[in-house]
């Protein structure tokens, strides 16, 4: 495998004035476009209509969709190109998440090991405490 498989989150906003089934169609075309671009869609979550913090293409709100994909960077670039071309998608952002997940797993591991160690260390401290006092 010449290119690394990485995990990305692609969040995009669909314009709000579409009908329900049309929005669904846009979402499904983006997903099929993602697989065509060469990334594996892990999860697709519709976050619903939300008010935008600022106007985007004269829209005050939009339908947020979160896509978790896995694939090489070049394929994600292709997916971004497709999003740009897709007219109802008014904004998108791609965030690489695998490094962050790795970091979080590491922190969790350290924390878990500390929780497990803590009762032992307090016992050890209690055990070692009286000995210098008596000696």
């Amino acid at each position: 495998m010449p290119q690394q498989q990485r995990t990305y989150e692609v969040m995009y906003i669909v314009r709000p004035d579409l009908a329900e089934e049309e929005t669904e169609r846009v979402i499904s075309t983006v997903e099929s476009g993602a697989t065509a671009a060469g990334v594996a869609v892990k999860n697709a979550e519709r976050m619903g209509k939300r008010r935008l913090a600022y106007k985007v293409r004269k829209f005050q709100d939009g339908v947020y969709v979160l896509l978790t994909v896995e694939g090489p960077g070049s394929a994600v670039a292709e997916l971004e190109r497709r999003l740009r071309v897709t007219e109802p998608v008014i904004k998108y952002i791609t965030v690489r998440v695998d490094e962050e997940q790795k970091r979080l797993a590491k922190i969790k591991k350290i924390r878990d090991s500390k929780v497990r160690q803590r009762p032992q260390t307090t016992e050890a401290a209690a055990g070692s405490g009286p000995t210098p006092a008596t000696a």
């Binding site: 969040m11 906003i13 935008l52 913090a53 600022y54 998108y92 952002i93 969790k108 924390r111």
Partner: protein
């Protein structure tokens, strides 16, 4: 020659330190308001003693702590608007560390997350008027 000079310096510093030490027992006085009198010099011995008491500062300032360290929030994600909003001023600016007390590594992640959130219109770049 040089040694003699050094000795002189040390003796003189001791001499200045001793009056300062005698002054410190009467330190409770500055709590009510520091008399900026001409007699009081910032002597070298006076400082550590003052710091030990918490200084002659009138207002007791609570020590700020990093929210993320205390509550053990590991991930600062751009999707968590509620969390990020606490660190954004009304105009949409990122609140500096010296005001929020967030530690450097967390502020770095926080800044990155806020900027990502701005990019996808979850947070404003600037409040509209």
């Amino acid at each position: 020659m040089a040694d003699e000079e050094k000795k002189e310096v040390t003796t003189s510093s001791e001499a200045t330190a001793t009056p300062a030490a005698t002054e410190t027992p009467a330190a409770p006085v500055p709590r009510f308001g520091r008399p900026g009198g001409p007699g009081r010099r910032p002597g070298p011995g006076g400082r550590p003693a003052g710091r030990g008491e918490g200084g002659p500062r009138k207002f007791f300032r609570r020590k700020k702590v990093c929210k993320f360290c205390v509550e053990k929030i590991d991930s600062i994600n751009y999707k968590d608007v509620r969390l990020l909003q606490q660190f954004v001023a009304e105009r949409g600016k990122i609140v500096p560390r010296r005001l929020t007390g967030v530690c450097t590594p967390h502020q770095r992640r926080l800044t990155a997350a806020i900027k990502q959130a701005r990019n996808i219109a979850l947070l404003p770049f600037a409040a509209r008027y």
